[in-house]
């Protein structure tokens, strides 16, 4: 290798001019910060090593303690010591019940978001997360000798728009300039791909199996010459190490745990975690809590973990299918997250993918290392790394009748955009209610509601003549912006989607799983809704037209029309969408001569003085 010849002191000057940027892995259980020095990412250590437990203690005297010292307060003051807050970020009242049972502190909510009630005050998950981020920022500033100018924060790949927005808000609240939100498995792949010592440095197709404290992601990436393309991603949020801890505690203690005090649950789960970690090194350990003393073997752990691992396996198979790959197409499987230290998990992954998983880089540090690289890319403009990530969950709009029309499908590369034109439903409709949704199911009530807004000022027209063009734009952070434009007037309305409430990881995951399980039910339900709405519209329009223009109606056509309407009304009461569709078609045929006359007159009236060709084009004839 040639020596780099440089003026003395030049690298120091370069170092001084360089922006001070870092990458942060904001985890459910632990968080850490890393930066790039001399082209190599490294974690920043503080007291007690690089990991900062994601725990915040609000003292009764008003003080705030973060990390290991806070963790020490957990048993004495469970209500004031907040752990696993990542499970709450970006969530709403709807999600309260499903998360409350898991956490040893008190939750409350308004219609906007979930909050935590300590003995002295109410704090939001965004505020608590900001305290953890502040601690990491202070650490980095002490180590790097100056203010931090920018940060990349990682989020689980399956985090939805609300959870991403809330994480970004926490960064802002901590006084950080958030350069980018980065998916955790993507960050891990970045660290692997750039580390010359790993097999992944030579490129290929890799699965990243990321099992953290409260989150599970599986992403498949292709690595070629500095490009990192995410092929598909998915997750199962009931699969964090936290869930395994609870499964162990429940298996050992059984009924004693139901309805127990917060402090007891906290202590049982802490002991379960200790046993789980001990089983990484030894084949058996003893669960000890009060009078209870119970030996636990690695085989016990494997059996208790099985239901969680099965769900994980299902998510993995789905992601492979989305990527149109078989497990043999993979060059390797990379392990990420503290929970992948467990031999039970390692064995499961090895069997699932048929290959020994890779853990060359520390699974608890690799996400932060990748985030640091991405921060460096954004700050310096270095061009040896390009990340192409995807939208984790489909984005769409609610249609009349409650069905969802997807505009951007899951696993579409970002930045992404889609534009679609929609028509008015009713005569003289003057506005459009726009309801933005995220999820895989077919009906609005089963997807996550992201935002609602109304486009007004549509000129009164016959139903179906008014047209609105709606555009979805997803930026490189995976955040959505929606624009609506009325096409005859050019009137425009847009919204940065700011979700008003959140969705649980469990809900995101359940939505995905359900969409597969109920795909067929959904389709029938959707068809029925669509046909009924269409039938309603046609009946109303036909009746109104019969009243408006009796002179165009012959006795024969009127009789045929009335009969067809009766048939349609009967069909609508049933559940058979095909019967409704056929009745609509029959009504259409019966009233065709009448509709023709009306259309001719409408064209003549609307385009008086316009050449006939133009008129025909405008009505789409």
């Amino acid at each position: 290798m040639l020596f780099q010849i440089s003026e003395p002191g030049e690298s120091k000057i370069k170092e001084a001019c360089k922006q001070r940027v870092v990458g942060i892995d904001l985890g459910t259980t632990n968080s850490l910060v890393a930066h790039v020095a001399d082209a190599t990412p490294e974690v920043i250590s503080g007291e007690g090593g690089p990991l900062v437990p994601s725990v915040v203690h609000y003292a009764v005297n008003g003080g705030v303690i973060v990390g290991r010292p806070a963790q020490a307060k957990a048993l004495d003051a469970p209500r004031d010591t907040l752990a696993s807050v990542k499970r709450l970020i970006g969530r709403g009242a709807k999600d309260l019940a499903s998360v409350a049972a898991m956490l040893p502190y008190e939750l409350t909510s308004d219609e906007r978001a979930v909050s935590i009630k300590t003995t002295t005050k109410i704090v939001s998950p965004v505020e608590v997360s900001a305290e953890v981020l502040r601690e990491l920022k202070a650490r980095a500033e002490a180590a790097l000798g100056g203010p931090i100018e920018g940060v990349v924060i990682t989020v689980p790949a399956y985090f939805d728009d609300a959870q991403r927005q809330a994480t970004r808000d926490a960064g802002r609240l901590a006084g950080l300039e958030v350069l980018r939100l980065l998916a955790e498995p993507t960050a891990a792949a970045l660290a692997y791909g750039l580390d010359r010592a790993t097999a992944a440095a030579n490129g290929g197709t890799y699965a990243v199996f990321d099992l953290g404290g409260g989150t599970f992601d599986l992403s498949i990436l292709k690595l070629v010459d500095g490009v990192f393309e995410v092929k598909a991603t998915g997750g199962d949020s009931a699969l964090g190490g936290d869930d395994l801890d609870r499964a162990i505690a429940t298996a050992v203690l059984g009924d004693k745990l139901t309805g127990a005090a917060h402090a007891i649950i906290g202590a049982a789960v802490a002991e379960a975690r200790r046993v789980k970690e001990a089983l990484t090194e030894t084949a058996s350990a003893t669960f000890t809590l009060g009078d209870v003393k119970k030996p636990v073997t690695r085989a016990d752990l494997a059996a208790w973990a099985q239901p969680l691992l099965d769900r994980c396996g299902k998510a993995c198979r789905r992601v492979l299918k989305d990527a149109e790959l078989a497990k043999d197409d993979l060059d390797g499987v990379i392990l990420v997250g503290g929970s992948t230290r467990s031999p039970v998990v390692v064995d499961f992954v090895a069997e699932l993918f048929g290959k020994t998983p890779l853990s060359e880089l520390d699974p608890e540090q690799v996400v932060a290392l990748g985030a640091a690289v991405q921060a460096d890319v954004l700050a310096t403009g270095r061009d040896d790394v390009t990340l192409i990530d995807v939208v984790p969950l489909s984005l769409g709009l609610e249609m009349m009748g409650g069905v969802v029309e997807k505009l951007i499908h899951r696993n579409t590369n970002i930045p992404a955009g889609a534009t679609q034109t929609f028509t008015t439903y009713a005569d003289n409709q003057t506005g459009f209610d726009i309801h933005v949704l995220q999820g895989e199911r077919e009906t609005a009530d089963t997807c996550r509601s992201l935002a609602r807004f109304t486009l007004r000022g549509v000129p009164p027209m016959i139903a179906g003549m008014g047209r609105v063009e709606i555009t979805f734009l997803v930026d490189a952070d995976g955040l959505l912006k929606v624009t609506a434009k009325e096409l005859t007037t050019g009137k425009e309305s847009s919204i940065e989607v700011k979700p008003s409430y959140g969705l649980t990881d469990e809900e995101v995951e359940r939505m995905l799983v359900d969409s597969f399980e109920h795909a067929e039910d959904d389709l029938v339900k959707r068809n029925l809704l669509v046909e009924r709405v269409e039938a309603d519209r046609i009946l109303a329009a036909t009746r109104q037209a019969f009243i408006d223009d009796p002179e165009m109606l012959t006795a024969d056509v009127r009789a045929a029309g009335e009969t067809a309407m009766t048939v349609l009304e009967t069909a609508m009461k049933g559940e058979d969408y095909l019967a409704i569709r056929h009745a609509v078609e029959a009504l259409d045929v019966a009233t065709k001569p009448f509709a023709q006359l009306r259309m001719n007159r409408a064209i003549a009236a609307q385009f008086e003085g316009v050449a006939l060709d133009d008129a025909a084009r405008k009505v789409g004839a």
Binding site: V224, M400, Y425, A426, V468, F516, V584
Partner: protein, 203 residues
């Protein structure tokens, strides 16, 4: 029904869509794209149906390196916006061209032949599909996943066979034959989705 001053969006503007659940997303996404945008030119590959997928991916990666928003993170706002727009168009082009059915539909549309939702089907083909669906529904109801898997397998073979006819038809520029195959493929794909749904719910 009361006449509301504002109302939810009625339906996508493609005529007849609501009445035809058998059609799927492709036609809409291609309809949303300005017809004049040349996706092949955008990626810098030769405009042919039987393109080399490795070459397409290499071209996409090379263009992504140039155009990705990360390259412009500290550029002036106008440049950042321009890069975002270009990067989005590039992603969209790649997404369309990398899969055979969207690629064929795009190429057909570029030649002025659109697939609408009211296409006439060969009655024999329609009857056959309806019978197959009925068979599938019965197997699913009876929990007979062996039959579902067998039907899925034979449908996948049939899909492959239909797809394999496309290169020659494109070479011969036989647009109406291509259109027939693409319409049939929609029905085959819908059927395969139903197989997936049946197998997934059985897991």
């Amino acid at each position: 029904m009361a006449s509301p001053s504002t109302s939810r969006i009625a339906s996508p503007a493609d005529p007849g869509r609501a009445a035809s659940p058998d059609s799927d997303a492709e036609v809409r996404s291609s309809a949303a794209r300005p017809a004049q945008a040349d996706l092949f030119a955008l990626l810098g590959v030769a405009p042919r149906y039987d393109l080399d997928l490795k070459e397409l991916e290499a071209a996409f990666f090379a263009k992504s390196k140039e155009l990705h928003p990360d390259r412009f993170a500290s550029a002036p706002a106008a440049e950042r916006v321009a890069a975002l727009t270009k990067s989005r168009a590039l992603n969209d082009a790649y997404q369309t061209l990398k899969k055979p059915v969207p690629r064929a539909e795009y190429m057909l549309a570029a030649k002025g032949m659109l697939i609408t939702d009211n296409e006439r089907l060969d009655p024999a083909f329609l009857m056959e599909i309806l019978d197959l669906r009925e068979e599938l529904a019965e197997a699913r109801a009876a929990g007979n996943m062996k039959v579902v898997e067998a039907n899925q397998g034979s449908m996948q073979t049939r899909r492959k066979t239909t797809l394999s006819e496309l290169p020659a038809l494109f070479a011969a520029n036989d647009l109406s034959a291509i259109k027939d195959r693409l319409i049939a493929l929609r029905y085959l794909d819908r059927y395969l989705e139903e197989c997936d749904a049946a197998l997934d719910s059985d897991d």
